[in-house]
Amino acid sequence: MSLLEIKGLEKSFANIPILKGIDLTVERGEVVSIIGSSGSGKTTLLRCINFLEQADKGKIFMDQQLIFDAENELYKNADERRKSQLLFGLVFQSFNLFPQYNVLENVMLASKLLAKSKPDYKTNKKEILKEIESTARSLIDRVGLSDKLLNYPCELSGGQQQRVAIARALALNPEVLCFDEPTSALDPELTGEVLSVIKDLAKENITMIIVTHEMRFARDVSSRVIFMDDGIIAEEGTPESLFSEPKTERLKTFLGASFYE
């Protein structure tokens, strides 16, 4: 039984097809890396999964439940979409932390807002907020930033900001955590600290989809690697098979080029 199931996803921008029919399943606890050259549609796929873009065709299932169907208007409704959005966490390339809030507030904000809609919020306000804060503190501890709780994003390095962004994405306990080139905006020195946080999450069996240009990292951390080319999944397999014995010419060229980088 797969956790996430994507069927026949298609997406065009201004009549230019970007995704040309993506079928993808992700098992619980699996770490799936998506590699491929710029413009191959990796980021668009991730954005469709996270409802930042609306696919033109296709269906998405979570735990056998239909959560998106391009043919059905119901799934395009804002409230419906917001509910499904909570099943996923997304870590952006450019972090996108909220600059006016400190680290702790960044991690707590969404949970606090969500708690307000709970029926018992008024009566148990103190306890609910206490629990949100202790969850946030432990997440920040998990990404190794306990000493930065009260710092603002502008006072942190890029690597630290991205680690806060990871903690923030985990705060709502998503089923699937997605990463959109999480280290592309970082210099090599800072890349390491972010990747090691992601590796730790992989050990804890958190289901992840990672769009990345870091081949060595994809090889180390993934249970499965997907190679996208021109809007389709051109090749997929275990990291060993994909990196050591690429079957398609396209992947051979791509891997060859990325070794010279």
Partner: protein, 214 residues
């Protein structure tokens, strides 16, 4: 005419000036935001209409707008305007809403898409994203242009005398007909002090928002 008498008279005019100023700020600040949303609306007729409104208001003298607001009801519907002060405040609120709306629009459009998306993937509603994430960032960015506009308003209030509202300049001018010119210069000091206080206030606000960058 003693210095004391002039001071008392100018003080009376100054109160009217402050009254126009405060009412205009209180109403045009929120109204400007509404106008900004109108001009950014995806519903084309609304955005075109709003932008035309902003164009007309910014493209004609405020003095003319005050006259029109005051005389128009009487000319068109034969209802004479009862309150000169009412007409002045309405004209000022309309005028400043238009200017503020453009400042808001610039601020809103300067916030990166990533901020909205970050809120969205965290399951926030559109209004939560705007009020909890975006608004504070806009306020910080537009503060310098807002302070500019607000200080302009201090001096624009003197246009109210065109329909004989007794604000500061009008009170000072009354002395000119008695052959006294210095009360006019004295009135200038009132404006200077008022805008000085506002400058300090805005400086303080900017400093308060300086705890973060972005």
């Amino acid at each position: 005419m003693s210095f004391w008498n002039v001071t008392l008279s100018l003080w009376e005019g100054f109160q009217t000036t402050i009254f126009i100023f405060v009412l205009t700020i209180l109403m045009s600040l929120p109204l400007g935001l509404v106008v900004a949303f109108g001009s950014m609306s995806k519903f084309k007729p609304l955005s075109i209409l709003t932008r035309a409104f902003v164009w007309i208001i910014r493209g004609t003298p405020l003095m003319l707008q005050i006259i029109i607001v005051f005389y128009m009801p009487g000319m068109l519907f034969n209802i004479p305007s009862e309150s000169r002060m009412g007409a002045v405040v309405v004209a000022f609120v309309i005028n400043y809403s238009a200017y503020f709306s453009e400042i808001y629009r610039g601020g809103i459009e300067s916030i990166s898409k990533g901020q909205y998306e970050a809120g969205q993937v965290l399951g926030m509603t559109k209004s939560q994203v705007f009020f909890k994430v975006i608004l504070m960032q806009i306020v910080k960015r537009i503060l310098p242009s807002m302070s500019n506009e607000v200080i302009t308003l201090v001096k624009d209030t003197s246009l109210a005398r065109i329909i004989a509202v007794g604000e500061l300049i009008r009170h000072a001018q009354d002395f000119v007909s008695d052959g006294l010119i210095w009360p006019l210069f004295y009135a200038g000091i009132f404006y200077l002090l008022f805008s000085g206080v506002l400058t300090i206030l805005f400086g303080w606000l900017e400093k308060r928002l300086n705890y973060y960058k972005g």
